[in-house]
Symmetry: C2
Subunit: 371 residues, 2 copies
Amino acid sequence: MPHGTAPLETGEARDAPRDDLSSEVTPGAGTVAASAEELGRPATIRDVAALARVSHQTVHRFLQGYEGIRPTTRERVVEALAALEYRPNLTARSLTTGRSMRIGALTHELDQFGPSKIIQGAAQAARDAGYVLDILSLDMGDPEEIDQALQTVTQHDLAGVLALASTDHMAQAFGAANFRVPAFLAGEEDEFASHHPSQLTTVGFPALIDHLAELGHQRLLHVAGPTAWSAARNRARAFEAAVAAHGLVSVGVVHGDWTARSGYEAIAALPARLDFTAVIAANDQMALGALLALRERGVRVPEDVSITGVDDIPDAAYFSPPLTTLRVDFVAQGRRAVEHLLARIAQREPADDEALISQLVVRRSTGTAAP
Amino acid sequence: MPHGTAPLETGEARDAPRDDLSSEVTPGAGTVAASAEELGRPATIRDVAALARVSHQTVHRFLQGYEGIRPTTRERVVEALAALEYRPNLTARSLTTGRSMRIGALTHELDQFGPSKIIQGAAQAARDAGYVLDILSLDMGDPEEIDQALQTVTQHDLAGVLALASTDHMAQAFGAANFRVPAFLAGEEDEFASHHPSQLTTVGFPALIDHLAELGHQRLLHVAGPTAWSAARNRARAFEAAVAAHGLVSVGVVHGDWTARSGYEAIAALPARLDFTAVIAANDQMALGALLALRERGVRVPEDVSITGVDDIPDAAYFSPPLTTLRVDFVAQGRRAVEHLLARIAQREPADDEALISQLVVRRSTGTAAP
DNA sequence: GTGCCAAATGTGACCGGTCACAATGCCCCG
DNA sequence: CGGGGCATTGTGACCGGTCACATTTGGCAC
């Protein structure tokens, strides 16, 4: 269909410019389209060239920001571009250059706060760099489907591929795929278990455990995320390390699935007598669930048991009671992931990024330990 | 760079096939690449054609599912495709066809539960149809920036454009843009204020108000969303209509911004004496904030005041107390939006979709009205 | 005015898949 | 055994922007 559209007119337009140099400058008399409407289809550089009475290459040069164009020529090109409402066709461009302005983002669990924030940051960073983000939400679980989705990715020639959710499934599928383009797997930073000893007591989990220790808590329960998530493992490791560093006691690690329901069930399933004074949940949702379960058991928060989360979702400040938590900058993670990928695409070294420090936010869900 | 890669070899490969029909079938002897590695770049249909000793057109026909290919020929093509690990180049394809397999999704507020769920549904539906979703997250507010983002969209030739967030800003920007492709603005359905009288008492807000009326509530407060959102206006309208239909009293409509904070402040700002027995928040987050504000005022929920939300975010079941709310199927909304768009792209009539009914979920935040 | 050189501009091919149109090959009939 | 006609396959151009290279133009010195 797009082919057949008035090929003759196009042909004439291409040949016309060199003839009537002497005739009137006022367009519209010849076969050269002088306006977008007259053309009836998106303008190409050749349409613009014809109207500006230059070669398509000159138009191209102008668009590339080439300086050496005579002012008079340049002016004609500018006018023609405006008159025809020219917009470059990125598809054609990528066909020749072999590069595209698209980044594929593999993700799942888009309804989770973290991942969707990361996507938001990634989309921003991508757009700032003139790229668009192609979302490929995979339903994990069906390996067949993952495979098919990855196939799809390789066909849509992308400048690079980013994997954002950090489950083992994803990592595995990602590793096995042959994208033929730069790829970057954005896992959660190991910030919680910082290897810089100097920071151990000031950032992330150490700060959180510090806070609890100061309040006199000795025995802690960790409600962890699903083990298939590296973020969950990181946090669990960081928890254990911080506890050990403070000489406190971990009474156990229960695994949930990030949902409030799993946090609720983790607490509800405990024996009648609780042998801890603080619950450290690996995210705010599970903390919320734990909060309700404790309340239903007649346990007061924070008088009897303190509770903490991780993420600082916007709602956390309005839980009953408001939740003490570690704020994680997901948007920055997304931005950074894209920047890393862009660096790899451009074959530069990625900018040295400072650590993403998760910040302790103290609210009313933590208090002095019950005696 | 991709140009220069051994143009000679390519040229020879293109001409070679017809010569050595008699010589060995075993490849590798001539200049025709017989494997993906040997090629060192993605295989094209012409590479495949050369290896299969057919014309590029025959390969093309095979790929299009054309039946009339002699079995022996077909077999050679199949083998060549496999040997060279051929993957179609979608960029080249869209250049000629003028169609692409990409849908642009304009959105903002990706951190909101509703929008991100809608995106999830849209991405699923898109992928099911072989499309990918290009996310274009706009920062509303800066009209300059919106404009620029829309420019970007028109350059990435997309099969269609979808706008998902339903603020007036978006609607306006969307309406003003000239996408040159099918576009679809997915606003929230007017489901809450259904015009089908028969459904008025069974779905959405009517059901919610029904529920409260049965519990004896007479005086209601609505915490609405921001007026710039059509969803907020719909819900406010539906609230008023349902109240009127039941002969109840609306003591007022306070506008928040969807966040828990705004719900909290809406209640905190009220005079000491509350003249309502139920708060109807336009979403669950604001209900959460209201819940905390009431608690801090010493008001018990649901004994003194009942509270309801809308959306049924996963956390709502674990608020303290668990929230009575209207469940909205955002994923279905996203799917439907994409299906509508795809229908428009294919110039078919969209499938007749049944109403998306929001379902009342009764939990413990509502109880009999205080006397 | 002439010649030279760099600056400015033009030409044609190409990316890879698709399209319109041609040219074979093959089978069967008279 | 020749020829009609369909089945099968091939040819070349095209989409629009880019690249490598060729050609023209202008400015300046002589």
